[in-house]
C-alpha cells in the first residue's frame, strides 16, 4: 500500500516509535501492537546519536535503542522482521543516510534508499535535511519509488513553503508548534493557521508534535488535518514499561493507539467550521 492510499479511508493515525527501544525483541512487539490498535502508517525512528529536534522523551528512547545495539543495518533487518501490513516511514537524521554504503566511493543517499526499499520502507522523514539540501535524497527516492516527506514548521513561510511543496510526496508533516517533540497538555493554536496555509496542497496533511490524547486527535482532525502523528505519548508508555513484561506494555500501547485512532475518526465526523 502506498502512503497516499493510507489516507484514503478517513483520517490516518500515524504512530512513531524508535526502533529497538528498549530492545530489539520488545520493540518488534510494540510496533506490531500499534498496528493492531489501528495504525494506518507507522513512523519508525532510526536512532541517531545527536537527535537535536527531539525532546527528552524521544531523546531517551534513542539512547536506550543505541545502547541496545541498534544500527542502520540492524534497523533494516528489524523492518524485515516486522509482521505488519501498513506502510512504514523511516524517520532519522541525515548523517546516517549520508554515511551508508559499503565503500567511500558509493557513500551517500543512494545505497541507503536502495536498502530501505528492499527492506520494505515506503518513505522518509529526515529531520535535519531542509528542502534546499535534499536534492540527492529526492533523486534516490525517485529512482526507487519512495516518498520524501517534509516537515512544515509554524515558522515556514513564503519561498521556503513553495520549495517544499515542489519536493514533497507521500504526505506533508505539519509541525503543530515551535520547539522539539514531546507530549503536551494543550493543542497548539498554530495548528489551524498552519493547515490553512497548506489547504490547496495536493498531498495529505498530517499534524504532529505534542498530541497526547484521543481528544487532541479529535480536535486536530476536526480542524482539517488528514492525519495525526503521535510519538512521545507512545514512547512514554515504552519508557514507563522498561521493567515490565513486554506483553503488558504492548497491551497498553495497543489500547492507547485505539484511543488515538478513535479520536481521529470522531474528529472526521465533526463538521468543519468553514
Amino acid at each position: 500500500m502506498s502512503l497516499e492510499e493510507a489516507f484514503a479511508d478517513g483520517p490516518a493515525f500515524i504512530p512513531y516509535l524508535a526502533a529497538g527501544d528498549p530492545s530489539y525483541e520488545a520493540s518488534l512487539e510494540y510496533v506490531e501492537a500499534l498496528e493492531r490498535g489501528g495504525a494506518d502508517v507507522i513512523e519508525l525512528g532510526l536512532p541517531f546519536s545527536e537527535p537535536i529536534a527531539e525532546g527528552s522523551t524521544i531523546q531517551e528512547a534513542v539512547v536506550r535503542a543505541l545502547e541496545a545495539g541498534m544500527t542502520p543495518d540492524r534497523y533494516f533487518e528489524f523492518v524485515e522482521d516486522l509482521d505488519v501490513d501498513v506502510p512504514l516511514v523511516c524517520m532519522t537524521y541525515y548523517n546516517l543516510v549520508y554515511q551508508y554504503g559499503a565503500s567511500e566511493a558509493e557513500k551517500g543517499p543512494r545505497p541507503f534508499v536502495e536498502r530501505a526499499a528492499e527492506a520494505g520502507i515506503e518513505g522518509f522523514v529526515v529531520v535535519d535535511l531542509p528542502a534546499e539540501e535534499a536534492g540527492p535524497l529526492r533523486e534516490a527516492c525517485d529512482e526507487f519509488g519512495l516518498d520524501l516527506i517534509f516537515i512544515v514548521a509554524p515558522t515556514t513561510e513564503g519561498e521556503r513553503l513553495e520549495r517544499m511543496r515542489e519536493r514533497v510526496s507521500g504526505y506533508v508533516y505539519v509541525q503543530s508548534r515551535l520547539g522539539t517533540t514531546g507530549a503536551r497538555d494543550e493543542v497548539s493554536d498554530y495548528t489551524e493557521r498552519s493547515l490553512s496555509r497548506l489547504a490547496d496542497w495536493d498531498v495529505p496533511k498530517a499534524v504532529g508534535f505534542g498530541i497526547k490524547t484521543g481528544d487532541h486527535a479529535e480536535r486536530i482532525v476536526a480542524a482539517g488535518a488528514d492525519g495525526i502523528i503521535v510519538g512521545s505519548a507512545l514512547v512514554d508508555i515504552v519508557a514507563e514499561g522498561v521493567d515490565e513484561s513486554t506483553a503488558d506494555v504492548a497491551a497498553r500501547l495497543e489500547e492507547k493507539a485505539r484511543e488515538l485512532k478513535r479520536g481521529a475518526v470522531r474528529g472526521a465526523g465533526v463538521p468543519r467550521a468553514e
Binding site: F48, S49, E50, P51, I52, A53, E54, G55, Q59, V63, L66, T71, P72, D73, Y93, Y94, N95, L96, Y98, Q99, Y100, V127, D128, L129, P130, E132, E133, F150, I151, V152, A153, P154, T155, T156, E157, R160, Q175, L178, G179, T180
Partner: protein, 416 residues
C-alpha cells in the same frame, strides 16, 4: 541561499525546519550589518571591542622561549582580552547583532565555560537576558567559569545527556532555540553550526590576525614564517589565520587535542582524543557538513581531552576545507605534552595559559626546529579557569617540570 556558506563540500545548513527561517534571518542580518556596516554596526562593534574588550591586544616577544628554541617567538596575547580569552570577540559581535535584530534573549552553549563567560559578560554589558547550557562534566571541571557566568547574571543550565560535554551542550541549546526562535538568538561559540555561523564567527575573530599581521610587520619588517593556534571548534584558529590565508609563505598550524591516544574504541563509541581534523571523517553534525569523530555507521563519538574547550567531536567546516586544500596543517599533541607546556610557559614567561592554548605550545616544544625563524603563537586564553584541573592532572602524573605537589597531597582531595 543553498550555494552560500559552502567551503568546498563542507558547510551548508542542515537543521530542523523550525530553525531554517531563523538562520535565514540571521544570514540576512549578517550581510547587512556585518558585511555592509548598516546603521554603523561594525563601527559600534569595534568601539566596544576597544573600550569594553581592551583591543588592540599586544603582540609580545617571548624572550625565554625565543632563546630556548633559537628563533623569534611572538605571542598574540588574546588572554589579555576582557574575560581572559579570544571568545569575547565573537560573543560581543553576536550579542550586539542580536540587539540590532531586535531579539530579546540570548542562549549559548559552553564547553570550557570560556565562551559562556564571554557571552554572559557581553549580555550583561548590553543588557540582554542570557541562558547558558553546559555539560555536567564540564561544570565539574570548570567551576570558576560557572561562577563567573552566574555572577554576571546568566542562568547556567546543566546538560546531563551523553558524557556531558560540549557536543551535548550544543544539541541542548539547539533544542532551546527551536522552541524560542522568534525572540531568541543562539550565540554559537565557535566557527561551527549552519551557515552563516562559521563565516560570521570567523569574521568577528579575524580581528586577531588583522592585528597580528600588522604587528608582525611593525616588529620584524615582514610576515611570520608560521602561525600556531590550538583547534577545538576552530574559532581562535580561524581568527588567527584568516588574514594570512593569502600569504602563501606563512605556514598555518592547527593544533588539536591528541588526548591520551589517537586510536578509537568503535564498540564503545569513544575516541580518547578530539582530533577531528587529523582522524575524523566527513559527516553532518550540528547543522554543517564537516569533519567529525564518528563510527562507521555515522554515529557521533564521545571525544576526550584534558582541556574542556577542545573536547568536541567536530570542527569548523572552513578549517576542515583549508586542511583538505593543504593550506592549513592539522597536527596534534597529547594531554601530557599540553600539561608540560602549561607549566613551561608559566615558569619561563610568567604567563599561565589555558589548557587549550597549552596544546599550541606543546607542539612548538616538539617541532620548533621545523617551523621557521619567526613564529606567532596565538595565546587563546589564560589558565585561571583550569587550575583545579591542572592540580589534579599534575598529581596523577610524573612531570619533571611541575612544581612540588606535596602540599596538595597532604591537604588532600586535590581541591583548592
Amino acid at each position: 541561499m543553498s550555494s552560500q556558506g559552502k567551503f568546498g563540500d563542507y558547510g551548508g545548513q542542515y537543521v530542523p525546519e523550525v530553525l531554517m527561517p531563523a538562520i535565514e534571518e540571521l544570514a540576512d542580518a549578517y550581510e547587512r550589518y556585518v558585511l555592509e556596516n548598516e546603521d554603523g554596526f561594525m563601527d559600534e562593534f569595534r568601539a566596544r571591542l576597544r573600550d569594553f574588550g581592551g583591543r588592540p591586544i599586544p603582540l609580545q616577544r617571548a624572550d625565554q622561549l625565543s632563546a630556548r628554541y633559537d628563533r623569534e617567538v611572538y605571542l598574540k596575547r588574546e588572554d589579555l582580552l576582557h574575560g581572559g580569552a579570544h571568545k569575547l570577540n565573537n560573543a560581543l559581535g553576536q550579542v550586539l547583532l542580536a540587539k540590532y535584530m531586535g531579539k530579546e534573549r540570548i542562549v549559548a552553549e559552553t564547553g570550557a565555560g570560556q565562551h559562556g563567560t564571554a557571552t554572559a559578560m557581553a549580555a550583561a554589558h548590553l543588557d540582554m537576558p542570557c541562558e547558558v547550557y553546559m555539560g555536567e562534566t564540564d561544570i565539574a571541571r570548570q567551576r570558576p567559569n560557572v561562577f563567573r557566568m552566574r555572577t554576571n547574571g546568566a542562568e547556567v543550565t546543566p546538560v546531563t545527556t551523553g558524557r556531558g560535554t560540549l557536543k551535548e551542550a550544543i544539541s541542548e541549546t539547539m533544542r532551546d532555540w527551536a522552541t524560542t526562535v522568534e525572540d531568541t538568538h543562539y550565540v554559537i561559540g565557535s566557527v561551527v553550526g549552519p551557515h552563516p555561523f562559521p563565516e560570521m564567527v570567523r569574521t568577528f575573530q579575524a580581528v586577531i590576525s588583522e592585528e597580528a599581521r600588522e604587528q608582525t610587520r611593525e616588529r620584524t619588517g615582514g610576515l611570520p614564517d608560521a602561525v600556531l593556534a590550538c583547534a577545538g571548534g576552530g574559532s581562535n584558529t580561524m581568527g588567527a589565520f584568516h588574514h594570512f590565508v593569502d600569504d602563501e609563505d606563512v605556514d598555518l598550524y592547527a593544533v588539536e587535542a591528541g588526548g591520551s591516544s589517537l586510536s578509537v574504541d568503535e564498540a564503545e563509541g569513544v575516541a580518547p582524543n578530539s582530533a577531528s581534523l587529523s582522524t575524523g571523517e566527513e559527516a553532518v553534525l550540528h547543522g554543517a557538513r564537516t569533519k567529525v569523530l564518528q563510527d562507521t555507521d555515522g554515529q557521533v563519538m564521545e571525544s576526550h581531552s584534558v582541556s574542556a574547550g577542545l573536547d568536541y567531536a567536530g570542527v569548523g567546516p572552513e578549517l576542515a576545507h583549508l586542511v583538505d586544500e593543504g593550506r592549513v596543517r592539522a597536527v596534534n599533541v597529547d594531554d601530557d605534552a599540553a600539561l608540560e607546556a602549561f607549566h613551561r610557559l608559566s615558569q619561563d614567561e610568567g604567563i599561565i595559559p589555558a589548557l587549550e592554548t597549552a596544546h599550541a605550545f606543546g607542539y612548538l616544544e616538539k617541532y620548533h626546529d621545523d617551523i621557521g625563524e619567526t613564529v606567532v603563537v596565538n595565546v587563546s586564553g589564560r589558565g585561571d579557569k583550569d587550575l583545579e584541573t591542572v592540580i589534579e592532572e599534575t598529581m596523577d602524573r610524573d612531570l619533571d617540570i611541575a612544581p612540588d605537589m606535596g602540599v596538595f597531597r597532604e591537604v588532600g582531595g586535590g581541591r583548592l
